[in-house]
Symmetry: C2
Subunit: 348 residues, 2 copies
DNA sequence: CTGTTAGCGCATTCAG
DNA sequence: CTGAATGCGCTAACAG
């Protein structure tokens, strides 16, 4: 009878898709599951002989602990979430990749998610990320308002880091480029090369989120030139968007002899449009971008750009999450700004 | 005494980071947790008045069901994993983005992960993905051997889809470009433009994974020209890698008048190197790539390339996972190849 | 050093 | 239509 029961048990355990559990390992070795659990946790108080046999069984059964079950009881999943409106953006991909490297070293995993604008303006996606059990979240908050972010951070009970935009919100660590310094450097450079008619190509701005980059650039231009606001066009941050915006800008302001684009992708689109309009770069008109993506090096001429240290910023974000996870909550509203570097190439 | 206990309970529940559970909702409404559970599952047999009150309480408490707890009992997490050696690759990012859109529509989530080559050649990363509870996995298997993939698929008990390389492995659905057709189209095009000295710039190949693209190209060249194998160089699939490989190729084979690159990024690197060497494109030498990334349209001249329908392929991959999750296991070793499209621009 | 008991948050039986 | 009991796989707190 006992044999029969065991047989049934074995059959049901050989079922499709069923992976071995801690109990299977315990039974094979002839110990309790607690002992197996201790071996997994590298707990010191286990007899080395027992430890050896358990590890053997783990290998033999190809056992992997179920991280969800573990997370349910430890209340920590060793997983961070990272969210952006567009995961195809190279600046974001670079940051992801950098965080991934660090995460692996610390035994963490990353859940990458694209923000769904339709779902309560992205907050819905973040909530789902939470329900997935992540221990902290990095947000590229291009489109989330400070109010939304504050409400979310307040209710989520986990460390939240925003990147790419300075957010002075209690409980949120903000990691961003020093936009003031970047704008100053760029405008100084353009003025030094004799270009004084500067136009801007900006990211399509959601009215509730005026972009800091835009404000910093306008401010730098006003102080540098002693003039009113520079002309600008907004469109989606793609090559096509850059083409459209540049065409519109040059049509409405034919005297513009320098263009600062929201990022390198937009700048590259602008270069195409300008070439089609017969403008020589940089003789007739200069073009600069932000981010320093690799593709900017292959345009003709190569693109001058503001480089940010993606890896270092990714590392800072990861550390902020780790600290927050360790101490319960992050330092209130800490803002880290990073120094930009101007990479002068052929378009200026 | 009862009051005191309740107070303690309330205090502990107001603890940091503690999110409301199904029990909190049940208590607020004055029903059992099963009733709340039924409302969540849109179970029909709940009184509409009860349902209304429960939904109210859910909104009031800002309750979100814990997906890990749910997964533990349902044995399904509504989560798919997607893994690649390089998440910065635009072809991969595009696929991710496409799958993300579909996943959201179906209530699924995506866990994106970068394969760790040091960790048992990437298999270790995949195992961790499994322990995270994903219901299926998409792998960009550039560097995994068929043997490793077969062993993994066999033991994992969940649907596995590979993309980008034809893998004829039982239990794995393989989605890839029709490399034979692509190679034929490309070589025909080059021959039609009078280029007969073709060189190849390939991805740095791991010896255990001879790449199908390489073989298909060599085969097409041999049949088209009636000649021996074309010269080739291998390097990492980046702009810098493309520059290096192209420089080496042109040095060792100065008569080459057409270059087929592993992908657009490599092709763009090659263009830079060729320009530095004083070769005119396409007059002296033609260049073509694969993938049809947006940046290929910005080079001077714009890059001729083999375009794959990323969105359609992403959709196919997602459907394969869904079917596999529904029926228990995927069709044995199904291989889906997709027709390439030649986008002729300025470099040929 | 090891086993026992309890419970994480939820869904799935079964009773009413 | 609703409630009570049971367990998913694992770890924490206590016993021994």
């Amino acid at each position: 009878m006992t044999e029969e029961n065991e047989l049934i048990e074995i059959v049901s355990k050989t079922n499709i898709a069923r992976r071995p559990t801690i109990i299977d390992v315990a039974e094979l070795v002839g110990v309790s599951r607690q002992t197996v659990s201790r071996v997994l946790a590298e707990h010191p108080r286990v007899a080395s002989e027992t430890r050896r046999r358990v590890k053997e069984a783990i290998v033999e059964l190809d056992f992997r602990p179920n991280r969800m079950a573990r997370a349910l009881v430890t209340q920590t999943s060793m997983t961070f979430g990272i969210a952006s409106v567009d995961i195809r953006n190279l600046h974001f991909a670079e940051t992801c990749s950098g965080m991934q490297t660090l995460a692996r070293q610390q035994g963490y995993h990353l859940v990458v998610t694209e923000l769904d604008l339709d779902d309560a303006g992205g907050i819905g996606t973040l909530e789902t990320l939470l329900s997935l059990g992540v221990d902290g979240i990095v947000i590229f908050p291009n489109i989330l308002t400070d109010a939304d972010l504050a409400a979310f951070a307040d209710s989520c009970g986990r460390p939240v880091v925003t990147m790419g935009r300075v957010t002075r919100i209690p409980g949120i660590v903000s990691i961003a480029l020093d936009e003031t310094a970047a704008a100053g450097t760029l405008v100084d450079h353009l003025l030094a090369t004799g270009k004084r008619r500067i136009g801007l190509l900006m990211n399509q701005m959601f009215p509730q989120v005026p972009h800091e980059r835009y404000r910093a650039l306008q401010h730098a231009i006003e102080t540098g030139l002693g003039e009113d606001a520079a002309p600008f066009e907004s469109d989606e941050p793609t090559i096509e968007g850059g083409k459209r915006a540049a065409a519109r800008l040059v049509r409405s302001h034919p005297d513009v002899n320098a263009i600062i684009a929201f990022n390198d992708t937009v700048a590259m689109g602008a270069m195409v449009a300008l070439r089609e309009l017969g403008r020589r770069i940089p003789a007739d008109i200069s073009v600069v971008g932000y981010d320093g993506i690799p593709y900017g090096a292959v345009t003709e001429p190569p693109l001058t750009t503001i480089v940010q240290d993606n890896r270092a910023m990714a590392e800072a974000a990861f550390r902020a999450l780790l600290d927050g996870a360790a101490y319960g909550s992050p330092p209130s509203g800490e803002v880290q700004t990073w120094k930009p570097e101007l990479l002068i190439r052929g378009t200026t």
